[in-house]
């Protein structure tokens, strides 16, 4: 046995394993066990009969970090700042993203005021030491931290992005004086400017430090006890993997550890099929997420808000640029007291679940609407493990939608299709945000849809966005876990650097990039001896006065003139205008180092058998704008390569259903993917 991917989510734990000799995949699913998380992983291993002593690599993604923030179940943190600045964490940027709420408030800071300590030191904006660290204050500081009952410590000093020596010095001292506490500091996580964002990042890392150390210890112990002697990798939010040691030092890097797998798989799949740039679209039970994969790469964002932009706090870590909306299979349809219909973000989850599950859920969900319209077969859900109750779905629609809107009882079809239209509008909005909002034209992308719900809605979303081709990979429900097996180690290293873009900046930038490259390469090489490392360089630039920078690739020789042209080209592509006179300044450099991928042949496994005989049945399915029509229903694993038909059609498999509209056409591609060529929008 070679590699195993384990994805521990809030509700379910998924496992995918790959045996390269026999070329077989194994899948397993179990309820997540709180307390000892390894228990659910062990259940999955037992279900597949995999013995850990035959496993070379375990890849692990987890939602524990984000859950700790959402549930506020992290450590008691002490923060140490430059004298005069302990309140920066509480004051933040003093903005109110919601304009008219007198009661607007941010989520409270992770560190209460009595646990925020100051030490005398000062470095100026040029990095020059104005006042050395007052080391005499350290012992008293340590006593106060002890007395405060803190379990971990974050250190963040003013202007340390420019000169980190004080911050690193105090961090090292605290590590030796408080050996039993988790100690972290801002510049070890980000070298970018802005004191609030850096302090917030350090505090957030300290908040999950002790908890993740315990979690990783338990997980590691579980693996070793089972006889595992191979490599244990964690899924990082930038699409790379981390060693357990790096995960212990930077647990915050695991904040989007869950969704990253789908993007990695999408990238590999797009490359294998020559799809060009794709939108990776993942619709699950409670949310839908989308991210872009361009030339095999996905963008990482420089500031990520834990708890969302409106109420949350920023962290500066390389985290996948992903847009998430509260629309999934379990999203609840409701009508508010002013007669407006909404779908999500409230979700019925897995308990009690959609009304059709018959587990006590009474509210109408997206899944209920899909079932009522015949788009999901009642008997086929999860391979028939589960029977869905159409009567309950209809009753919920009547209660949640038809009665509040004053529609006729017989209008169940219209109500259900309304639920889907609104859910699709919300999801299309997310795709517009990740494309149009970032200067990309959605029509030039392929929509790659996966997750339990993605294939059901892909064709409609593609039509609404004028995307000509939607692709459904094989095993869409396990696509994310599959991606974990394909991940490659990667380090993103960004650093603030300010200079007007001109010839005199070039030697400085080159020297800085060289230094970062040497540091990053050796770090990656140390973790993965004997492997080949490749790097890409980027520069963050902006017009003088601007807040946000634009990222430009900076590989090869650097000169100011061509960088200016590259900047203007990228700027114009994003915003449709550019200024050729206004001064441009450099605000930072970014280096991405990754191991050169040794592609594991994971994609061809589900290739359709050429001799397969299509199994087709029929049922009535409601089609938007046409009403109920008799529609062919295919069993996916019975469709051979090259099989093609015009819609409408439904294609069913374990864990997912693909819906083909009446104006669409589909064919089965060589890796078993369903290619949907979309017709005109049906609005």
């Amino acid at each position: 046995m070679k590699s195993v991917g384990i994805d521990i989510g809030g509700t379910f734990t998924d496992l995918v394993a790959w045996d390269p000799e026999k070329r077989i995949f194994f899948h397993a699913k179990s309820l997540t066990s709180y307390g000892d998380f390894f228990v659910s992983a062990r259940h999955c291993l037992e279900e597949t009969g995999i013995s850990l002593d035959r496993v070379d690599v375990v890849r692990h993604g987890t939602t524990q970090v984000i859950n700790a923030f959402v549930q506020r179940s992290g450590a008691r943190v002490a923060l140490v700042t430059t004298r005069g600045f302990r309140d920066v964490l509480e004051i933040g940027r003093a903005n109110r993203p919601i304009a008219f709420q007198l009661r607007y408030d941010r989520n409270p800071p992770l560190v209460d005021r009595p646990l925020r300590f100051e030490i005398t030191e000062r470095i100026d904006a040029q990095g020059i030491i104005v006042r050395p660290v007052e080391l005499g204050e350290l012992n008293a500081l340590v006593d106060r931290i002890r007395l405060s009952g803190a379990q971990s410590v974050a250190v963040s000093f003013l202007n340390s992005y420019r000169n980190p020596s004080h911050e690193l010095q105090v961090t090292a001292q605290l590590r030796s004086l408080l050996p039993d506490l988790f100690v972290t500091c801002g510049v070890e996580l980000t070298r970018e400017w802005f004191e609030y964002e850096r302090s917030s990042t350090a505090a957030a890392n300290a908040y999950v430090g002790p908890l993740m150390a315990d979690y990783l210890d338990a997980f590691d112990r579980g693996l070793r006890t089972g006889g595992f002697t191979g490599r244990f990798d964690l899924m990082a939010s930038n699409g790379g993997v981390l060693t357990p040691e790096a995960g212990r030092a930077q647990p915050l890097a695991l904040v989007e550890s869950g969704p990253i797998g789908g993007c990695i798989a999408a990238s590999a799949f797009a490359a294998a099929l020559d799809l060009g740039d794709v939108i990776a679209f993942d619709m699950g039970g409670t949310t839908a997420k989308c991210a872009l994969v361009q030339s095999g790469q996905f963008e990482v964002q420089s500031t990520y808000y834990i708890g969302g932009y409106e109420h949350g706090f920023p962290v500066r870590m390389p985290i996948l640029d992903i847009v998430e909306v509260g629309a999934g299979g379990g999203s609840i349809a409701a009508v508010d007291d002013l007669g407006r219909m909404t779908v999500g973000p409230r979700s019925a989850g897995s308990e009690p679940g959609p009304a059709a599950f018959g587990k006590g859920g009474l509210e109408s969900t997206v899944t209920d609407a899909n079932l009522w319209l015949g788009r999901i077969g009642g008997g086929a859900f999860l391979g028939g493990r589960f029977t869905l109750d159409e009567g309950a779905a209809c009753a919920a629609l009547v209660r949640n939608v038809i009665e509040p809107l004053g529609m006729a009882k017989s209008d169940c079809d219209a109500a259900a299709s309304g639920v889907l239209r609104i859910a699709n509008t919300v999801m299309a909005g997310a795709i517009k945000e990740i494309t149009g909002d970032r200067g990309h034209d959605a029509r030039k992308f392929v929509l790659l849809a996966f997750g339990g719900g993605g294939p059901l809605h892909a064709a409609e979303l593609a039509r609404e966005l004028n995307i000509p081709l939607a692709v459904i990979p094989p095993e869409p429900g396990n696509f994310s876990a599959l991606g974990m097996l394909m991940a490659q180690p990667r380090i993103d290293n960004a650093q603030s650097f300010f200079h007007e873009l001109n010839a005199s900046a070039m030697p400085l930038v080159c020297a800085l990039l060289e230094a970062i490259e040497v540091e990053t390469r050796s770090k990656l090489q140390q973790e993965h001896p004997g492997e080949t490392v490749s790097t890409s360089r980027f520069m963050e630039m902006r017009y003088r006065g601007q807040k946000q920078s634009t990222r430009v690739a900076a590989d090869g020789a650097l000169d100011a003139g061509s960088l200016r042209i590259a900047f203007e080209t990228e700027y114009k592509r994003r915003y449709s205008h550019a200024d050729s006179v206004h001064p441009v300044e450099i605000v930072g450099v970014r280096l991405v180092a990754r191991l050169v991928s040794t592609k594991e042949g994971l994609l061809g496994v589900a290739s359709p058998r050429p001799d397969a005989v299509p199994v087709v049945t029929e049922r009535e399915v409601y089609l938007e704008g046409k009403g109920r029509m008799t529609t062919s229903v295919y069993r996916r694993d019975s469709l051979p390569f090259g099989f093609a038909r015009s819609g409408p059609a439904v294609i069913e498999e374990f864990g997912a259903t693909t819906m083909i509209g009446p104006d669409d056409r589909f064919e089965i591609g060589r890796l078993g993917e369903i290619r949907i060529h979309c017709g005109a929008p049906t609005t």
């Binding site: 109110r96 007669g339 529609m407 909002d437």
Partner: protein, 613 residues
Amino acid sequence: MNVRPMPEGSDGKDRITSEVIRQRLIAIPNIVDRNITRTAFSPIVAEYKDYAVGIVDIKGRLISQCKGGITIFVANALGTAVLDGIETYGIERIKQGDILITNHAGTMGQHLNNVVMYTPVFVPEKPELPVAFMAVVMHWVDVGGAIVGSAVSNTTTEIWQEGLQLRSVKLHDAGRPIEEMYRVIEYNTRFPRMVLGDLNAQLAGCLQGRDMMVQVYADYGIEAVETAVSLLWDQSEAATRRAIRSIANGVYRASSFLDDDGIRKGAPIPIDISVIVEDERIVIDFSNIAPQMRGPLNAGRNGGAVAAARVACKYLLTPNEPANEGAFRPLDIVIPDGKFLSARPDAAMGGSGSMLPTVIDTIFAALAPAAPDRVAAAHHGTYGIHMFFGRDPETGELFKQSDTATGGWGANCDRDGNGPFRSLVHADTHGVPVEMQEAMNPFRIDSVALRCDSGGAGKYRGGPGIEKIYTPLTQMQINVSFERTQCPPWGLQGGQPGQVGWVEIHRDSHVIGPLAKATEDIRLNDRVRVLTGGGGGFGNPATRDPHSVARDIAFGYVSAKAGREIYGVELTSAGDVDEIATSRVRASFTDWTKASPSVQNSHNQFTREEPQA
């Protein structure tokens, strides 16, 4: 109770289509908003977000507006501009590809930096007339006038001292840029590259929004979009009406005052406002406020009375609803011409927004007895501008770092005050990081800290203000414009006022200040101290949960002295509540207002009358 508007002949399917259209109409300004933040050149647009994006119909009615930005623009700055353009040109002379701009004080009633730009939306289905307008109002950094930044003088007395006026002129004619207009703009600002850069972001925003609107009309047709818009207005109107109905009928009144107009120092400007609630309507009557001033604290009717009334109503009645025309249908505004919120077109209007926080606080105060659950005690209530400027000694270049006050907000009837935030006419306005300020200006900031005891005491405490200390690294100047130093942020229902904010300069062994409206030199070894106000408290402080007081003391929000003297809470040596001693002290507060001299506040002229039945 049936408040659900149901247009004639509509059925559920139309309702669902309308909902889909509504979501797209609300999304468009928010998408444009984000791109403007990314592409603007000046910090006042990119960081301070002094702009707003919206869609208006051809009658100037607001269809939707972006979520963040500055709240004043909800007074339909956009619609007012469009209507003036239609009146000036005639709708038939507004063509596809036209871009119009205006900052005319007589119609907009705001300082001249606020420039509205808009473009018509044409659809093939009805090519002869526009169906809507996409509009962006933006604060241009400088439009000429007596002082750098145009609008920040404390001493202008006429609008012509405050910069260039452009009344409804075309910047593009049928898609063709009018180069002469660009030249006029370029040569009437001190920062042409920055203004033209911002203008490009504004222009791109108008065009992007317009194209997205065209797509909405193409997808659904004019009739369906218009049905959706009227439904959207009706729903917002219904939400407002329902909120008004929850407030007892009556005439509610409150008064306060501004420090002075910047010219006649120390002469207060009275504010006296009546709010009439009658079933589902609300009337805000400004008839008794002070007349137009000589100095720049004036606004025209739209930028003044209408803006204040609409912002106040939005906060009070429908904070969670999107802003549009319908939300304000049940609101009437009464104000004669020539008041400081309905100033004549020639009045100086540099500070056209800076009176509004106090005016809006006063409207809340009037309604406090009738709707205690909707209002808050007063907030720090000032823009609190503190602008450092001068020449860099090394490069000789002009530098300017403008900041505004972030202070405490008032407590509600069931929770402590929030903040520190900027004033309630600001919203998603980001403070500039210390590291950025220090990298760009020759000064250091030595501390940024919450101010102990600055939040007004109460059963629920006001939010805290802050204190900042600056060390100059060269000689420079500071321009200060603070309000509410004489009429502190009041408490409600027995809550105490928050502390006021000011600026002071420490030189050798003496202090210059407190400064409120002034321009001063700063020398090399000076220290500049900027203090911002706290919010007012709500309810009698002697009824505050003693454990909350103990926590406040442990957190340093409240001093042990104030805990004892104002809240009547005694602590043990371990910092826990001494229950017995606390009961004893609190029992002695029979008339708690006399418990301690510090409780009295001689500045607080705020009065309130009970509603007349």
